[in-house]
Symmetry: C2
Subunit: 231 residues, 2 copies
């Protein structure tokens, strides 16, 4: 059972969350956890958590719970974290800089091995210990480092072109922050994070939840930026 009967994608996403919680628990010196406690910390249903973990084969002790460090290692192994993943990041604007400087990746086995930008003004800057390189060097770096993951943080207009370039050079997984739907060859995984979509879903759910407590919207009145215009 624990070979590869395929783990549901929704479960994989939650496993990553459990891993984060377990890491924190382990750092606190905690020895064991129950499904109830772990589920509460991860914000999910206890039965669902056990179901998720069942995809990894038995990994708890009945009547006791889960051993924190063992479970952590087990999940880390399933998620493929024992080997580091080399990533390249294209588009070093505000968001790209944030991603490049975000410490949360390194802790989880992801390492940026190349930062790229089309703007000469940004090329040559250093972020952390990496220089920003021109787009012309992308193929070369990909060939050298065998990076398998590409992160796109460019303006929407060039995202598809960057995607094409990445996939042509052998990148098999892409995380896209540009607000466009990318088309990639079969066999290439694409994941989209669209910040505006998140906000719109949030706003809709709020609207649906209740007819709003009091009259608002009047407070805004004047200031509504016409169209920001960051490319």
């Amino acid at each position: 059972m624990q070979s590869r009967p395929r783990i549901p994608e929704a479960t994989v996403a939650r496993l990553a969350v459990y891993l984060r919680v377990l890491t924190g628990l382990a750092d606190s010196g905690r020895g064991t956890v129950s499904s109830g406690e772990l589920a509460s910390a991860a914000g999910v249903n206890p039965a669902g958590l056990r179901k998720d973990l069942s995809h990894l084969g038995p990994c708890g002790t009945r009547g006791v719970g889960y051993e924190v460090s063992t479970l952590r290692d087990r999940i880390a192994g399933v998620l493929g974290m024992e080997t580091a993943h080399a990533c390249v990041l294209v588009g070093i604007g505000n968001l790209g800089s944030a991603l490049a400087g975000y410490g949360g990746f390194g802790n989880r086995g992801f390492e940026f091995v190349g930062l790229f930008d089309a703007s000469p003004a940004r090329v040559g800057q250093r972020i952390g210990d990496l220089p920003v390189r021109p787009m012309e060097e992308l193929d070369e770096v990909l060939a050298e480092t065998r990076a398998t993951i590409g992160v796109i943080a460019t303006p929407a207009e060039v995202a598809q072109r960057v995607c094409d370039q990445l996939t042509a050079a052998g990148v098999r997984s892409i995380l896209n922050f540009a607000p466009v739907t990318l088309s990639a060859p079969a066999g290439v995984g694409v994941r989209q994070v669209d910040l505006s979509v998140e906000l719109q879903v949030l706003a809709f759910l709020d609207k649906q939840r209740g007819p709003a407590p009091a009259a608002l919207g009047t407070a805004l009145g004047t200031a509504l930026a016409p169209a920001g215009g960051m490319a």
Copy 2:
């Protein structure tokens, strides 16, 4: 039944994507689109798209397609975009700065009315036309502006405290970028964007897809999911 029998959350997220595509189409002067074309641009199944739109009541013309600007307005209305949403942003580090400067929000009816950070070094800086304010002014600004959405881009350690403060001041929707699971009172919507989780899901799917080829040549002979692909 176009009243409000509740629209599935998955549909809402896709509506936001359709809206983005339609806006682009309208700017190109396009008059009408078929479900097939729109679905292709949004990366979804045509039948699914029509099903999504059916939640809004009839909004196309049989034999012809959808009128671009009409459909855009219809979706915008359902998503609650006719009234602007005031947001506050807490945590003006790299990511927070990126969010504050991101033009994609203003275009979609979201406006930041306050930026906050606990670090004195950041307070007083300006991003766009807003100053970074100290945390002490959060309650005051929330009371004045009646902002309903809070965005958290702080370190994980303080995210829950910020969440408590936001909800106590009446914020009903929270978008959280900190890698922690927030607990909020019932009636408050929380959406989580965890960049590390996204990367881990991506890496897992890649690992599951194939044992990784040696170089960039794709293994033609080996198992590729048959997946009858007529669309």
